[in-house]
Amino acid sequence: MTAPAQLAGYDADGIGYKTFRPDAVVIPGSVEELIRVLQRARELNVPLCMRGAGTSLAGGPVAAQGGVIVHTSALRAVRTIDANGQWCEVESGVVLNQLDEALKPHGVFYPPDPSSGPVCTLGGNIAMNAGGAHCFRYGVTSNYVLGVEVVLLDGTVHRFGGPAGGRGTWREDWKRLMVGSEGTLGAFTRFWLRTLPRPEKVWTFRATYADLITAERAIHRLVAHSSFPVAIELMDPRCVAMVENSPMAVGLPRDSFMLLTEIDGPPELVDARVESVAAILREAGSQDVVFSDEEEQRKKLWKARKVAGGLMGQLSADFVVQDAVIPKRALAELLQLVYDEADAAGLAAVNVFHAGDGNLHPNFMFDSQKPGDLEKVEHIGKRLMQRVVEVGGTLSGEHGIGNDKSAYMPLVFGPEMTRLQMAVPGIFNPQHQLNPLKVFQQRRFVGSGGSGSEDQLNSPTSAKVTAARYENGSKPGSVSSGTRLFEHFLDPIDGVLCVPASACAVDVGRAIGEYPLRFPLWMDERATLHEHVLASGFAPASSRFGPFCDNIVGMNWRLPSGRIVRLGERVVKTTTGYDLFRFALAGGTRWGQPIDYVIRLRPDCGPAGVYRLHGSHGAVSDAVRAILRSCWMHWYDSIDVLTRTGLASEAELRIATNFPATESAVAERRLERLAVDHGLALQVDSESVPPCDGLPDLMLKITPDRVLELAREIANEFACRTVALCYPGVVHIHSDDSDSKQLQSIVTRYESQLREYGGDWQSRHRGAGEPSERESLWISQLEQAMRTV
């Protein structure tokens, strides 16, 4: 489509006042057509921008440099739902709520829930690493992407990962770079996504607080509480007043902070937790705590939160929303900064945000047609972001950078780190033909006749100049890349701890001290964090908390050049630049060495409960299937099946919990019933530290429905001890054979099967295989970029 009136509909995303008219719009009807579009665009030398529903709030899917918009609205098939394997395969144009509707009959769900769910596409979600209200407990998009199929500019199609969520046929975990890449690397066509059993019951709580101090007290206690709230949302008094002054008023005190929180899970457990959550809200200082498990009533409790966005649209010609994530201790200061700046500029500002994550959403209302208003808003944005970075926060938690926030990127990435970041598009999209001017301002497409990124970086209008301008305006040294390394710290409010990568469990415990926090993944007492990452990247409690890379949020990293840089953040969610952090972490030592890790801690609710159920392999398999179909996520830290050498027909199902004593009784009853139902013998241990299986010699990653059979087969045929981590689909193999011949034969035997499902293997005794010719090229390009930093 090229007629002016066909292009106008595509000239903006969710930020309606910033328009960029494309030269053409294409709606490919199939992947084959999409491939041809990419090839043709390369021949024609025109910029390309992928677009889903166009609900971005960061200027992601707009033709910032003209060219062609590729609308993925026709690629909307949910191809496979495998409820036993806990994965689904969807095309990139599938709408989030459409996926939810499709998953519902299977009793599973896909947790990320941006509020644009009724319209936004998975393509946009994965491009921007979307979050949502419930990602406080469930995690963001990157925690749920198992595989990505992408078409590169040359028309070649590549599948990174797959149902099993590993590296697939590649040496490196390229999907890590794809998630959050904002459409700058390739065109997404398909995804494999992880699902969880649907929550059986939900309780919603609403409380109001007279001041921020009491509201914060409630937030901090909720974050650390054993009830594991899935969402913690806060509305400031200005936002509450806006709702209460409108016809949508719900009867809240106008000068109060409104806090919303939610717990979900199996009925008997959530019901047992209701009173303790209400007590926290009251004890923090609220006289007005309302809660319900009834659908209609819950909707009413959410109403003020849900209508706030629309009201801003009605009250103001335009509004802009920021998406900074901050350490929660800085909340009061940043809110005051928002108020002061907005008041000084004479603009209305309201805050409604994900308080549990420290993910702020200050909304500034203005009129883009009024001279000076836009400049004021941009000035406030800069002041705010500067302070956000100074206090240790990041620019974006879930909306992405697009071209709306790219001007702030030099605050986070100095010239050298920018060069390292730019190496990522340098591999896949060196001319910046795909989505130019996004993420980094210097990503300008100059056409194949011009020169690529290197020249851009060195041009007078490059990042260096921009960075220098910011640095002059900020505190000396506070934001330049060299000084942004992590220092060792413990933040008990956010539950993050920075320790050396060589720290063992005991070091972590010592650093946590008396705080009721724990690092949730089970560690071998002699092994370091780094050794665990190298040996497997998973631990038994990964069932509930995910792999190490989801429990480490940032690190100081020594590049092969010897230079130490910071990768990742100290806040728990980020969509600020390419995810080199997870990519490097997954690469073992190939991309350098970790010096320090920033690890995520969780509430420590009591001694670990360990339940062992013994029986035949078949009975145990049935029991595991039953558990994985139930709503286990807030009950069990780990669901593992242990098979011993020479006893492959017998198995032990080991379930570990971390509850207060009151809840253990509920869990115990449930497990007793499970044991009876499946003819298993139950044995209960209460231990202060979870048991340890030792550091695995080999890790295999497959889908959850295939993991038990695989573990049994290996234990049987290779006479070694195996531990199957049931939900992550991981087999840990412990071999007595000190030479690695046995490991080699296991790898040889299963490698192709693992690859078929997009899985992989990892071993501390053996290096990864040789990369393909094409991958070698990518690797050498990235290595070269790293050497220059």
Binding site: M1, P4, A5, Y10, G16, V119, S246, L315
Partner: protein, 429 residues
Amino acid sequence: MNADVDAKRGKAGDPANGPLLDDSLLTSCVHCGFCLEVCPTYKLTGDENNSPRGRLRLWREEADGRLPADPWTAHYTEECVGCLACESACPANVPYGRIFETVRHQHTVAGRTRPGALIRWMGWLTRRPSLFQGAFWPARLLRRMGCLPHRTVFPGAPALSLSTAEYARQWVARHRPTGPRVALLTGCLMEGLFREINFATIRVLVENNCRVEVPDSQGCCGAFHEHAGLGGVESLHDRNRAAFGGERYDAILANSSGCGYALSKSLGKASEKGPGSLATGERETPHLDGVRVVDVLVFLSELGPKARLSRGEKARVYVDLPCHLVHGQKVSGIPSNVLDATGYKWELAPLAKDCCGSGGIYHLERPENAQAILRSKAAFLNDAAGDPLILATSNHVCMQQWHSARASGIVRRPFEVRHVIQLLDPEPS
């Protein structure tokens, strides 16, 4: 708040293009995109220009003079079914329907859209109620004889010459109801072609003790002209304001949600607020001189309708919700106590709140789109349980559209299309 909303910037459109469009309406869209996935033509084409957000953008670009009058703008405007599902989805309460009607009229005035000869003739005819009824006499005859003159005409046995007004007088005289005094809008096509539904409405209302009257001086509600972008709607509104006004009734009723919506807009004008009411989210019930304009099924629901005996286990009614009831009149649905009173086992049709593609005259002007939209909704009937299998709704144009699913082969087995009021009828013919 009103001041804030009014303070939104605004420029008027080009007066040469027809009626002025209050520009603050066009700027009320915040471009969030929540309307995309509820829009039948966006879902059909995957083209954002063919969505409410896209159209609003095109109209605003033209109004602001940034985009010249373009045939594509007219095309995307004509593509809109006018189902108003976007109004229900819109968090900013953009009055899309009002804007759409104004723009469509502008386009017709400026000659950018030219309604077909049949449409223009029908538009002319609907202004002359007695001529209209006369002209449709042969069609009523054909229906009575079981000859269905068009794929959208469902079977029925309308009276040939006895009007609903006269029938109501006779029926009321015979049964002497003593309850609420209500006036019924009979509708042009409903009276001209599907008169048996009006008769059934009279019988049900009288059975429920309503003193029903059919004002003789009433005329077309104007919906047809609004759908076609034709002018002169105001004079039709004036006629009905005179016919129904003056506090003579306890309620003014319509038995077709499309006509009812148009009537409520025209009669309710006195109480309809300006842009300040945008934020309410729920439309106030429209009034004429303090008298409510309301759908007959909603009115019956409040009375608690007399129930028919159980129709047994085998028969099944699938209920479809007309867009102009749900998104136009903003009623949550056809009330369940009314559906229970039919005596049938009933359930909502899958996708009941989605548009069926009828859109007033859309199924005639854009038959391919209309059938494609219907296909996703109606295909379930091929495997649905029920003998007889009944699809019930409360708008005669939706009934026509559903009936066409048989002729077009979307539904490959027999099924009946009924108005819910017919299922309540104490004396079905």
